[in-house]
Amino acid sequence: MLERLRQPWPDRRAELLLGALACAVLLIIVLMVVFVAREAWPTFRHNGLSWLGPGGNVDSQIGTMVNGGRDFHLRAWPLVWGTVLTTGLAVAFGLAFALLASIFIVEFAPDRLRAIIVPVVRLLAAVPSVIFGLIGILVLVPFVGNHIVTAGQKKSVEFVVQLSGASLLVATVILTVMIVPIMIAIIVDALYAVPRTWKEGAVALGVNRWRAMWTVSVRAARPAIIAAAVLATARALGEAIMLSMVSGSVGFAPNPFDGPLFLLEPLRPLAATIVEDAESLQAPAVRSSVYAFALLLLFSSLFLSLAGFLAKQPMKKYGARI
């Protein structure tokens, strides 16, 4: 075998071999969709599309499944909504923050500071989610519970949920901190990759550095910014462990119309739900539901990358490099 490798390869065979390996990746994805979809099928067949809709208390529905109910009835809306909320808020804040920070790193940071920030960013990007979860549950959650949530607020919703500190607020904050470095990493690289001639062209016209950055570099880097947002969204969607630790894990859909209070309400996104119910997989109804959650996540990340791709198209025309 080794001997064969040492021999010069005919180009054709090499190409086929490498190509085959590359296609293996595709195969895995197909397998994944198929397997997950197959497992998820029963619950969808039973609930139809109203599976996504609101109705009843999702926790008790799952509860009955866990305790062996053969009943597939499930209305996953609170979980979906929880996912949308955490992801949406985190990405919205995160993107703005990351963009500013990236511009700072590339343009304004003094060399010494830049030399510090860059590794810091990569470190942050690498901190395992379980550590964020640990800090969240042992530090932030008690803090919010004891110092931010007021008795009045607790009373106002006592018939619906408990405000224990584990809340949308904490979840969003930590999630933001988790995804910002990922975005910064991508955006910074893109900003650096903007052809120097463009920025110099702008600066040479007597445009100040911020404007040059904003009107030319950032503009040229939009595809990367979108890519960053997509990746970050995917991460936020999929974050399970940390959220299961700090989100309060209640199948409740916080209502923005409750005013600021809704930030303090607990919830449980899809991914966290999967983690927590993974141990009851042997109950057929639970199994099917859990895989249904997974399928939902899978498809949303599929659509994400598709959406990102489409969003980049119009920019090609003006010479953005994608």
Binding site: K154, Q162, S164, S249, V250
Partner: protein, 245 residues
């Protein structure tokens, strides 16, 4: 031939006990058998043993209608479930009715709870439906009533303990090992501690099970028999849990 291996998986609450027992058994029966222990939750244990992935599944919950057929639950010990409140709000005693009305969501303010030190909303902390503790609590304490859906359902004893610890208005229920940092409330006039549980006065006890595929045979059988009957084994159980006898 090679020494047989007993593989266990299942309830994380049973795991510590199972480990201790296994150690002692190996010591007293050298070379007779080896043990491997995985955790993952009661349901995992039941499922694994049913599928034959392990020889023993540990469960901290009683058999369910939904459990796969052909498995056999061997009771090995019992464990007390304590109602716990925040140290800032010690409650000496709770009657079953009080508990039921609190957790059913009928009573929502400490002022309505006899013996409560404080007033204000009651923060209910419970367990997710998957957990054996939840199952036991429902059976033992709630009887016909069901736990209100507004309860903050935690995934583990630790979370409940932590939630109650950090929230003055909270009340929850945990297995006896988890009363550190919180104050256990008496139940029907009996304090929740190991002694009362052993003596049988304390009512709120659940069972620990070792589940086998069909009736246990061979080394497994002898191990479980040892656990159930051997004095030393029960002594080990007695350290933190409630022995059968």
């Amino acid at each position: 031939q090679a020494t047989p291996v007993i593989t266990m998986s299942g309830s994380t609450s049973v795991a510590p006990l199972a480990t201790l027992l296994a150690k002692a058994y190996v010591k007293s029966h050298p070379g007779k058998v080896k043990f491997k222990l995985a955790q993952g939750g009661s349901d995992v244990g039941v499922a694994d043993v049913a599928a034959g992935r392990v020889t023993i599944g540990n469960s901290s919950r009683d058999p369910k209608s939904s459990d796969p057929s052909g498995i056999f639950f061997n009771k090995i010990a019992r464990d007390a479930i304590c109602l716990v409140t925040n140290p800032g709000n010690p409650v000496a005693n709770l009657s079953q009715e009080t508990i039921q009305s609190i957790f059913a969501g009928d009573v929502r303010d400490w002022s309505q709870v006899p013996g409560a030190g404080i007033t204000g909303t009651i923060d209910l902390v419970g367990r997710t439906a998957a957990s054996g503790t939840q199952d036991a609590f429902q059976k033992i304490f709630m009887g016909s009533k069901t736990v209100t859906s507004s309860i903050a359902a935690k995934a583990s004893n630790g979370l409940v303990q932590q939630a109650v610890q950090s929230d003055k208005n909270a009340i929850g229920y945990v297995s006896l090992d988890f009363i550190g940092g919180v104050t256990p409330a008496g139940y029907n006039g009996v304090a929740c501690n190991l002694r009362n549980a052993k003596s049988g006065e304390y009512g709120g006890v659940r069972n620990f099970w070792m589940v086998t595929r069909g009736r246990a045979t061979g080394v497994v059988q002898s191990f479980i028999a040892w656990v159930q009957n051997n004095a030393k084994a029960q002594a080990i159980v007695g350290k933190h849990w409630v022995p059968l006898k």
